[in-house]
């Protein structure tokens, strides 16, 4: 393009845009005219009318914030309540001698220096007709003393408002979550009108997910005020509608017992009802107290929680991602049967496995080997070599598919926010996320639930429930029903079947469930010790997941390894075998072996649920 044309273009462009700018300027002036005309109309032409209206403007709208719905467990044990908090407020323009009044009040309630400083600051900066808080959070005694003597101090009033309270300290925090003050961030995405007069909003857990149900509807009170804005009488009102009460499927007693059974182990216990997908226990250890979060936790306390090496803020049941270890084996067995593997065919286990053309040994947990193993025995005795061989035969794509079918390595869809998917690894995934090729050895590790494979305790429990259901995969749910506070009408969250896994093969389920039953009740089952004396028959699978790699030719020696590098102990189970009422997944971080640590915990949880709480368990709420 030659320069001449460019300059010509430039000149024509300039003329065009300049003409548009002139048009825009005219438009701007026109719109300013509209604004000025409107202001003239309101302020000059109709001034008399609006002046009168403003003089008589004594009717004000006061928001009546709704009462937030409460949260209960399946037996009606309260998990989140609203408790009244009393405060003393003073309206400065009704007080003649402020110092004398403060003196009188201080004889009824204890006033700290900080409270006085805050109050005096408010006196200086806020208008005199506005009531200011002098002290909040009065004790019952102070409330009583003040009420008895209130007539001595005109213009000083006792007010009550509701504050969220979580009665079990931290026991339910990983399910219920908490509310907190509405932040700038929240303001941007909520309908502010709906939150007029409301100070709190759900931040985490059920409180966050069911915010719309819990909130309720704001009401208004039309009040007449005097010239100073003080309320004289109420003209009319539209009542607020209380938020719905939520009843969870959680059994609070069971959940607290489950956490107690974990003892000092960090980890999670998830128990579900297979038939409905109802979550019975959703314990994550350790816990933290949500109550300080309601009014805003101090940044120092929050930093302490964040930096705690035990990571109490982590909801392990929902967000903890673990290698499933041998608990994956029943699901791979299902995949094997589905792909036509003959369950009677045996693999010889000499205690290790090698890939052809490689000297690397993949060890079985039993160093001396299991001998000839068929599918049944390989599950019962948790033979690694059998599953190495199986993994090699099926290939990683089939293994991944077998996991995903049972909901392992993908979100379960539970009614809590922030659920991770975990990982059912494939070569494609590795290529995309790491830019590396898949090695055959990684398929072998995946065969026993090691390597890249990651699942959450919730996924494990739901997958176990799917086997218990013989293929019916349910949507897990925390909330059982909402109850309208005024009418009492319950609104149930219907159980929802996600899919039928391998529905045409009852025979496959029979084989795998038989093997899982023999894990506990068979002569050579890996967890037979923990089933001793059980009043019901149950099915399960142990798992032990490596936290650190053991070098070739080295032995795993628990005593020689620092605690945080010890193996994670896992166990999945459902009971009773023929009429499953409960499915459980237990993960005890650094707990060592699954049979020794995790299986007894699961047994206690099932005993509690199927037989009843042992006497030793203290449970004041159900007493």
């Amino acid at each position: 393009m030659s320069n001449g044309i460019r300059i010509q273009d430039y000149l024509s462009d300039t003329k065009l845009v300049q003409s548009r700018l002139i048009a825009a300027s005219i438009f701007v002036l026109l719109l300013c005219g509209v604004l000025l005309w409107r202001l003239f109309d309101l302020q000059i032409a109709q001034n008399l009318r609006f002046d009168t209206l403003s003089q008589e403007n004594r009717i004000r709208l006061m928001p009546l914030p709704p009462v937030r719905g409460q949260i209960y467990d399946r037996h009606g044990v309260p998990l989140a309540q609203n408790l009244p908090v009393y405060a003393i407020e003073i309206q400065p323009d009704r007080i003649d001698d402020m110092e004398a009044t403060l003196d009188v009040v201080s004889r009824m309630v204890t006033l700290s220096d900080e409270e006085l400083v805050q109050f005096r600051k408010a006196l200086r900066t806020r208008p005199r007709f506005e009531a200011q808080v002098l002290k909040s959070g009065l004790s019952d005694e102070e409330v009583a003393r003040f009420s008895a003597n209130q007539h001595l101090v005109d213009g000083v009033e006792l007010t009550a408002r509701l504050r969220r309270y979580y009665p079990h300290d931290g026991e339910m925090v990983h399910v219920v979550g908490y509310v907190g003050r509405i932040s700038e961030d929240d303001l941007g995405r909520i309908d502010r009108a709906a939150y007029r007069g409301t100070d709190y909003i759900g931040k985490l857990g059920v409180e966050e997910r069911y915010e719309n149900e819990l909130l309720g509807e704001v009401g208004y009170e039309e009040v007449e005020t005097n010239a100073h804005g003080k309320i004289v009488r109420v003209v009319s009102s539209k009542k607020s509608v209380a938020g719905k009460d939520l009843f969870l499927s959680i059994d609070a007693g069971l959940q607290m017992a489950a956490r107690e059974y974990l003892g000092d182990f960090k980890g999670a216990v998830v128990a579900v009802e297979p038939a409905t997908g109802s979550v019975l226990a959703f314990a994550s250890n350790p816990i933290y107290d949500p109550n300080p979060f309601v009014e805003g936790i101090s940044s120092r306390d929050y930093q302490a929680l964040r930096q705690d090496p035990d990571r109490p803020l982590l909801n392990r049941a929902l967000n903890g991602r673990y290698a499933p270890g041998s608990t994956i084996k029943p699901f791979f067995a299902m995949g094997a049967l589905d792909n036509g593997v003959d369950p009677a065919r045996t693999t010889y286990c000499p205690g290790y496995f090698t890939l052809p053309g490689s000297s690397r040994q993949y060890r079985c947990w039993r160093r001396e080997g299991h001998g000839a193993m068929n599918l049944h025995d390989a599950i019962v005795r948790s033979c690694d070599v059998y599953f190495y061989q199986l993994a090699r035969a099926l290939g990683i794509e089939k293994l991944s598919e077998a996991m995903l079918r049972f909901g392992l390595g993908r979100t379960t869809g539970i009614d809590l926010s922030g659920e991770p998917s975990g990982l059912a690894p494939t070569p494609e995934w590795k290529q995309n996320s790491r830019g590396e090729v898949w090695y055959p050895g990684e398929t072998i590790s995946a065969g026993i639930g090691q390597g890249y494979t990651l699942v959450t305790p919730l996924q494990l429990a739901m997958a176990t429930a799917t086997i218990a259901n013989r293929g019916k995969r349910m949507l897990p749910r925390i909330v059982d029903h909402a109850r309208d506070a005024s009418t009492g009408t319950p609104d149930y969250v219907e159980p929802q079947v996600l899919e039928q896994v391998d529905a045409d093969s009852p025979d496959h389920y029979r084989r795998v469930v038989d093997a899982m039953t023999d894990v506990l009740h068979g002569e050579r089952g890996t967890a037979r010790g923990s089933a001793r004396g059980a009043e019901y028959r149950y099915a399960g699978k142990t798992g032990t997941a490596q936290v650190i790699g053991i070098a070739q030719g080295e032995r795993y020696d628990e005593d020689a390894i620092a605690e945080q590098f010890r193996d994670h102990a896992l166990f999945i189970a459902f009971a009773p075998v023929d009429d499953p009422k409960i499915a459980v997944a237990v993960i005890a971080e650094n707990g060592g072996g699954g049979s020794r640590t995790a299986a007894p915990i699961a047994r206690k949880v099932m005993d509690y649920y199927l037989i009843g709480p042992p006497e030793a368990v203290e449970n004041p709420d159900e007493a």
Partner: protein, 360 residues
Amino acid sequence: MRLERAFRMDAPLFLGLLALGGLSLVVLYSAGNQDVDLLYRQSFRLLIGLAVMGVLARISPETFTRWTPFIYGFGMACLVLVLVVGIVGKGAQRWLDLGVVQFQPAEIMKLGVPMMVAWWLTRNPLPPGWRDLGLAVLIIGAPTMLVVLQPDLGTAVLIAAAGVLVILLAGLSWRLIVILAGAAGALAPVGWLFLHEYQQRRILTLFDPWSDPLGAGYHTIQSIIAVGSGGLSGKGWLNGSQSHLDFIPERGTDFIFAVFAEEFGFYGGIGMIALYIFLVGRGLYISFYAQGTYTRLVAGSLSLTFFLYVFVNIGMVSGIVPVVGVPLPLVSYGGTSMVTLMAGFGILMSIHSHKKLMPK
């Protein structure tokens, strides 16, 4: 003149902005119930804004031209990031609002979109052909949709408006403008169905606020009463009864003009609007005499967008525009938008102060 040469500042714009900032502090003192802390914070924001303006004014327009695609790309990347992280961030983090400077990518796009559209359209002679128009619509539409998803409808509309203004300035044929306006009018009923119920109510009550005096019309009515009762010369500073008895919602932010009009009356209103016309006029003047089509389009769009904010806010307060969350530029308290607006003025100053003797 020395100011202009040393800092590449434009004296009329600079003085106009200072006047507006000062006026903001005066009104805020009243609207915020004489809260001095509030004034400190507002002054602090103003100073940050002025600093940003000063820095941008020293950057040459050629640099802005060159950087336009990167600014736009960076803004888009941030918008996508916000959507992704916004979902993950739903945890214990949210409550931690320690007042750290928050960064809103949507704000970048208030400048990035008009710059990018101008950059794209000036690659070929104006008026733009169909192909360039189509791409311009994409340049505007993509970030707009991302902001709608956040969801922040108000900001999305403002971003789109800034981009569309560039297209209009670039010589979109009048016939097409009329046709599109007609089509928009015809499609409005369809859009209506996509609005939230509370948004529909806000628009309905615009036509007759007294139809629901204690519900959706309440804010509008109280705001109109405040403005109307101000009369010719107002009730006097700190004496607005409507404002001080808490009848005006969000009186420090979106409805600050109601406080101003009640206390300073019609004269005050004329004065403030005149100040805005002066700023917008100066911006359009800079645009008119800009060197280069890109800078002309950007300067024009920035000036007109600024006016749009003013019109929508005052129109909303006086009851001729639906209640949307648009603050009165540079007068309303706070908002991340203050820095963006000042950045816009910085670009205007840069365009004006870097003119060369010879046309290129």
